[in-house]
């Protein structure tokens, strides 16, 4: 049990109602000792960034199954920068075509998790790479 639990905000942005995957991830991270703040469906870019700031998150996990990742993720990354939250690590999960993954990583996304990712892979990634501000 960690004395300083990792705080993870999980959110879905835009018009995308598929929340089964993000709930499974939420549960896996919770069972791994993280404090998971579930921000839920249909969040705007601004509300996600506000949640990350107010909750003092170490990580932001975005789940996108709508195909709008190349529109939404750049907006989220830019809004995080503007809010002075560049120390927060960002993970993206969902249906992301292979050619888009390097583009997202170039934008500053730490890791992209596609369908079929074993839960322990996500858990280990989050635990092994705490964001710089909390290191």
């Amino acid at each position: 049990m960690s004395h300083e639990p990792i705080r993870v905000v999980l959110a879905k942005v835009g018009l995308d109602g598929h929340d089964r995957g993000i709930k499974v991830v939420a549960r896996a991270l919770r069972d791994a000792g993280c404090h998971v703040i579930y921000a839920g469906l249909w969040q705007t870019v601004e509300s996600v960034v506000r949640t990350v700031a107010d909750e003092d998150a170490d990580w932001l996990g975005l789940s996108i199954l709508s195909g709008a990742h190349m529109t939404l993720v750049p907006q989220v990354m830019e809004a995080l920068r503007q809010a002075g939250l560049e120390h927060v690590g960002v993970m993206v999960g969902g249906i992301i075509p292979e050619p888009d993954i390097p583009k997202l990583v170039n934008l500053g996304v730490s890791r992209v998790f596609g369908p079929g990712t074993p839960m322990h892979e996500i858990v280990e990634f989050v635990k092994s790479r705490r964001s710089a501000a909390h290191a």
């Binding site: 004395h3 639990p5 919770r30 998971v36 949640t51």
Partner: protein, 298 residues
């Protein structure tokens, strides 16, 4: 980031600094600095919302926020959810149910409460104090869905609101010690459901028999909006339980700080020297310390 930078950020009303200081305080770090702040310049009114899981605490808080905003108050919400005693993990989902608005006058923070111990997060008093220091007028504490035997929050709240809902049990439920007696205000939530009036009646008569102070019982529905403005008005107008006065341990903490402060007085140094050299005994030294270093003597 250094603690001093965070305090600088607080003075500039930087939300990230508030958020980080709250994280630290909830882990027991920097508590001394917060205690040394002394009483707030502008004390906030603190409300605790308690009641069993599923009774609608988060949803109701989401409805109360705009009510306070309309009245020109800024609002901080501290939402406590349980932490697993086995893994230390927690799933904090209250924020979602509150429909967190994008408003600089509103701060919502999820906190984990160690399960099996209490219904509120550790060091909640320090976290409340930080929100006051930042300048929030109203602070709403949502407890873990406990309801029974949940009294820890009383020490830190101006008003404790207990939520009940229709079909929560027979009349004997209300007779259990600790259920009704912790509340300053009773809300029969989900009042649009059948049976709400009956619960309200049962609770009113149980309160009457108990013969304690008059506790208002309000019928409220977050779904229809019934009773929401009335509840906000009651929260604004009901006299507060003097949260810094009636709690013995809080009083002792303050008294201790006052004494430490007085020990820095020049007269205290002299008294200590006299006591050490045996010219006066400790009782005499204490009596004179209280006399000679009182506010008027300073």
């Amino acid at each position: 980031m250094l603690e001093s930078q965070l305090w600088q950020g607080m003075r500039q009303r930087d939300r990230r600094s508030l958020a980080r200081l709250i994280t630290r305080a909830s882990r027991g770090l920097g508590i001394e600095t917060i205690r040394r702040l002394g009483p707030p310049e502008k004390p906030a009114r603190v409300f605790a919302i308690t009641g069993s899981g599923g009774v609608g605490k988060s949803t109701l808080i989401g409805k109360l926020i705009p009510q306070f905003r309309e009245r020109g108050r800024t609002v901080a919400v501290l939402a406590c959810d349980p932490e697993s005693p086995l893994t230390g993990g927690a799933l904090l989902g209250d924020r979602f149910r509150m429909g967190a608005p994008l408003d600089d006058g509103v701060y919502i923070r999820s906190l984990a409460a160690c399960s099996g111990r209490q219904a509120i997060a550790d060091h909640l008093d320090a976290v409340i104090r930080l929100c006051e220091e930042f300048g929030f007028d109203r602070i709403i504490v949502e407890t873990v869905g406990a309801g029974q035997g949940d009294t820890a929050v009383r020490a830190w709240a101006d008003l404790v609101v207990l939520l009940l809902q229709p079909e929560t049990g027979d009349e004997l439920q209300w007779e259990k010690a600790g259920v009704l007696e912790i509340a300053d205000l009773m809300v029969i939530h989900k009042a649009d459901l059948p049976g709400a009036d009956r619960v309200a009646q049962q609770v009113r008569s149980a309160l009457e028999v108990a013969g304690g102070p008059v506790v208002p019982v309000l019928l409220v529905s977050s779904r229809t909006g019934q009773g929401i403005p009335e509840l906000a008005t009651a929260l604004e107008t009901l006299p507060s339980r003097s949260r810094r006065g009636d709690d013995r341990s809080a009083f002792l903490v303050d008294a201790q700080q006052m004494l430490i402060h007085r020990l820095q007085h020049p007269a205290a140094t002299e008294l200590l020297a006299k006591w050490r050299s045996g010219r006066i005994d400790i009782q005499e030294a204490l009596r004179r310390l209280l006399e000679e270093t009182s506010v008027s003597a300073q």
